[in-house]
């Protein structure tokens, strides 16, 4: 039939036109697409940094955390720009490579930066403690089945175990680490003078951080050190950790991260022991207060020995953003009472507890989508410090210390959590019990405002 033949011709013609049109359109689109992609690839080739080989990833990341810290020590007040030690400025390179479906290997090198040190500056030296140092340098081998083995300079089971915090406040002001913000300042006696005969200059004066086990590290908390560390694979949110290193200390701990009902929970607890001798230049995993470098001579058979435990938990109600953190830790020093007759009845234990509560919600999301979460928080900290065989106070042996602190603040996230603005205030009150009594000390107040930018 004619119509059938006509229809076939028309269909064929249309098919040809359509095919041509599609081909042309495709070619046109493809050409445009290729030109655009070519330009963008050329731009990347010209402007990007390259890595050393094709096998391992290389990620460069880090953060800058700087702010203005105002302080009032009861006699003098001042303000300076400092690096916030709560989560200080740093630069990190890290990566990994897959060996098989179960195994991979990776590394991290992380360099810490302190333009001015918020936990070391003094009334006379605003730049005290500035510089760069090595935070991490390690490699690891990781199996999904058997866990991860890490070797190098890094933190063990006790590192951060008393500082667990699901809220943004962890980067601005740790609720359990008081040393970080202003405790390099020298303490003032009630008459306004410094201790240890220093009078009106801070050189040699007893500083606030010395209240906390002399080193400033809270009881129960670990440190980064040269260690070998094993971590089990995660099981229902739980991970077991054990590490050993230096000469010698070891730790073991358990961590948890998960959700229960409508709550996010993170928690950890760790125990450690140390017989490590601290020298003038060494970094130790667990810092024992009494040891041969502080009056107990080498070869006396009385190497340093101490034990500690610490833990913390953070719970956040996802729907409301209400959260609470709690931390505690204790360190026992076996040798403190053998450091001399003065210490025969001294307190061998240092312990602390700390709590933080607050609200973390996207309160400003209606103002602009650029705003992330807002965190409002309050903190309380209490230290019952033991005797110190290292430092003296006005020439008298230190038999015990105390430190309490309360404070609060606000953290505002911008661009999710990559930029955070913060402002906070703290009030510190410290005490020292010596063989001569307990002198009255002036309290310390600080206020800090700053920002952390992550890259």
């Amino acid at each position: 039939m004619f119509w059938k033949r006509e229809a076939a011709v028309v269909a064929a013609a249309l098919a040809g036109v359509a095919a041509g049109a599609i081909k042309a359109a495709q070619a046109g689109d493809l050409q445009a697409c290729c030109v655009d992609l070519e330009e963008r690839i050329a731009e990347l080739e010209a402007t990007t940094a390259h890595k050393g080989n094709r096998k391992l990833e290389l990620n460069i990341s880090g953060q800058v955390n700087e702010g203005i810290l105002f302080w009032d020590d009861g006699r003098e007040s001042n303000a300076s720009v400092v690096t916030n030690e709560s989560s200080r400025t740093r630069l990190r390179v890290e990566g990994a490579a897959k060996i098989s479906s179960d195994w991979k290997a990776g590394y991290r090198i992380e360099i810490g930066v302190r333009a001015a040190n918020s936990k070391r500056f003094t009334q006379d030296k605003p730049q005290e403690g500035a510089g760069i140092d090595l935070r991490h340098s390690y490699w690891y081998i990781d199996s999904k089945t058997y866990g991860r083995l890490t070797l190098g300079h890094t933190g063990g089971a006790g590192e951060g175990v008393t500082e667990i915090n699901l809220a943004q406040s962890k980067s601005a002001a740790k609720y359990s680490d008081m040393e970080d913000l202003g405790l390099g300042l020298a303490m003032r006696l009630s008459n306004g003078l410094y201790s240890n005969g220093s009078g009106t200059t801070t050189s040699g004066a007893f500083t606030w951080r010395r209240l906390i086990r002399d080193s400033g590290v809270q009881p129960g908390e670990g440190r980064r050190a040269d260690i070998i560390k094993y971590e089990t694979p995660e099981w229902n949110g739980f991970t077991l950790i054990a590490n050993w290193g230096e000469d010698d200390f070891w730790e073991t701990g358990i961590g948890y991260k998960g959700k229960v009902g409508g709550f996010k929970i993170a928690a950890g607890i760790a125990y450690g022991e140390s017989s490590e001798i601290k020298t003038a230049t060494s970094t130790v995993g667990i810092d024992c207060m009494a040891q041969n470098a502080q009056g107990i001579p080498p070869g006396s058979g009385r190497d340093a020995h101490c034990q500690q435990w610490g833990g913390s938990i953070s719970i956040m109600h996802e729907a409301s953003g209400l959260y609470a953190n709690f931390a505690a830790g204790k360190t026992h020093d076996d040798l403190i009472r053998r450091s001399g007759p003065t210490f025969s009845n001294a307190d061998p234990d240092s312990s602390f507890w700390a709590v933080e509560g607050g609200l973390e919600r996207a309160l400003l999301s209606d103002v602009s989508p650029a705003f992330g979460k807002t965190t409002l928080f309050g903190q309380y900290y209490d230290l019952d410090g033991g005797a110190s065989a290292r430092s003296t106070f006005d020439g008298d042996a230190i038999l015990g210390t105390g430190l309490t602190s309360y404070g609060g603040g606000i953290v505002q996230g911008i661009v999710d959590k990559e930029i955070q603005l913060y402002a906070l205030a703290r009030h510190y009150r410290g005490s020292v019990t010596t063989t001569a009594g307990s002198p009255d000390m002036k309290p310390l107040d600080i206020f800090m405002a700053g920002a952390i930018v992550r890259f």
Binding site: A15, C33, T47, N53, L56, S137, E246, T279
Partner: protein, 424 residues
């Protein structure tokens, strides 16, 4: 006329057209060139644009590389033993920033900044010290101008021409970074010497008894602030000369041929002088020192059997006082096999012996004779650019203390290193 076919053809034509179009584009073309392909590339490029690190300008390249080299070391000095964790000080962990720009067909310019990082420094391990002085240091910082026909000139902190003069030859066996010529001396250098009764020997360290101003290995220099010239390679040969500090200079000649028949061959010889004892650490009272060294290696490529050997010497000159032995020298021989016995990567098994005839260390020693031997295995994990190593070392000998007439026999020192280096 409005025929019925108009109503019926249109759908047919469209169907035909779609069919033809589909036929033309085809499944393969759709996958390779169609919108999905562009969308995929678009996504991948957008991801790169969002995540790739950028460099300072468009003209000079930037490559970030380096490695992490951490280990566990057990040691036993005959009286005391212990185990430490730390950075392998032989070739410490590091981050390197390097790049170059082409100026024309013949000329290019470039730079290197290399930062060394150490946790516990194994080079500082001692009986009472885990080497825990964490540090970040500038290893290299220099720029260079290079001509393909005339060679390369570099200025800045860099290896001199005799830097790793003996070590760098040991490149075929994958032992260069784990057991080179200076490895034995670096491993125990900061430990105190003990005599056969377990007593320390005048507070001397192994590196006090050994000589060689760079890593206790005569014949080699270190990284210094120098101007360095390297010739282009010619038939496997290249030469180098450097000058700097106040004053030192050295020069070297190298040959490398990876496929000389069934063999790979490499050799290097060099000579240097310094009148700057502070920079070259030849000795606190030395006014001048000279050094030279030579090393070579050969590997049978089909079997992986290799032999490496080297000799180095250092002489103190123009001394204000007479010394027992102004010259210190050492030699090393190493042999083994490197083969890919498993898919994971190549395995190297080796043994080595080193002997030091160390001269005077003013105010500390008159002389020393030290023997080392070592054996070990290095396993490469190719997929992760990683080498795992296990090495045993033993050192023994005797030392004549400053002013002493007789030698003190030293107790053996044993150590085991287990670690890995991962490169990025």
């Amino acid at each position: 006329m409005t025929s019925v076919f108009k109503k019926s053809v249109a759908p047919l034509a469209v169907m035909a057209a779609l069919g033809a179009g589909a036929a033309i584009s085809g499944p393969a073309a759709a996958a390779d060139l169609g919108g999905d392909c562009c969308a995929d590339l678009e996504e991948r490029i957008a991801e790169l644009e969002a995540t790739a690190a950028r460099k300072g300008n468009r003209k000079v390249s930037l490559t970030v590389s380096g490695w992490v080299n951490e280990m566990v070391m057990f040691w036993d000095d005959g009286t005391e033993s212990n185990t430490y964790v730390g950075t392998n000080g032989l070739e410490q962990s590091r981050v390197k920033f390097s790049g170059k720009a082409k100026i024309d067909k013949d000329w290019s310019a470039g730079y290197t900044i290399e930062l060394g990082v150490k946790g516990g420094d194994s080079g500082a391990f001692a009986q009472d010290d885990t080497g825990s002085a964490n540090s970040i240091s500038v290893r290299k910082s220099y720029w260079y101008l290079k001509s393909e026909s005339l060679g390369q000139v570099s200025v800045g902190q860099n290896g001199t021409s005799t830097y790793h003069l003996l070590d760098d030859v040991n490149g075929f066996s994958n032992l260069r970074n784990y057991s080179d010529a200076e490895a034995a001396a670096v491993a125990l250098g900061s430990f105190e010497l003990r005599d056969n009764n377990g007593n320390t020997v005048g507070g001397l360290l192994w590196k006090d008894a050994l000589r060689g101003f760079n890593n206790s290995t005569p014949g080699q220099s270190g990284r210094r602030n120098v101007v360095r010239y390297d010739t282009p390679e010619f038939a496997g040969f290249s030469a180098s000369a450097s000058w700097g500090e106040d004053d030192m200079w050295d020069t070297s000649l190298s040959y490398v041929n990876k496929a000389l028949g069934d063999f790979g061959v490499a050799a290097q010889v060099g000579y240097g002088e310094s009148s700057d004892p502070g920079a070259t650490k030849c000795g606190s009272n030395a006014l001048k020192c000279t050094w030279w060294g030579a090393a070579g290696t050969i590997i049978h490529n089909p079997t992986g059997l290799f032999v490496y050997g080297g000799y180095g010497s250092q002489e103190l000159e123009d001394l204000p006082v007479a010394v027992s032995e102004a010259t210190s020298d050492f030699w090393i021989i190493q042999g083994g096999i490197v083969q890919k016995w498993m898919p994971l990567g190549k395995t190297t098994i080796f043994g080595e012996f080193r002997h030091d005839d160390a001269g005077s260390n003013l105010g500390k020693t008159e002389s020393a004779d030290i023997d080392y031997w070592a054996a070990g295995v290095v396993q490469n994990i190719d997929a992760a650019a990683m080498d795992v190593y296990l090495i045993y070392r033993n050192a023994s000998g005797d030392v004549v203390e400053d002013g002493a007439a007789t030698a003190t026999k030293l107790d053996d020192f044993d150590l085991i290193q287990l670690g890995a280096r991962i490169q990025f």
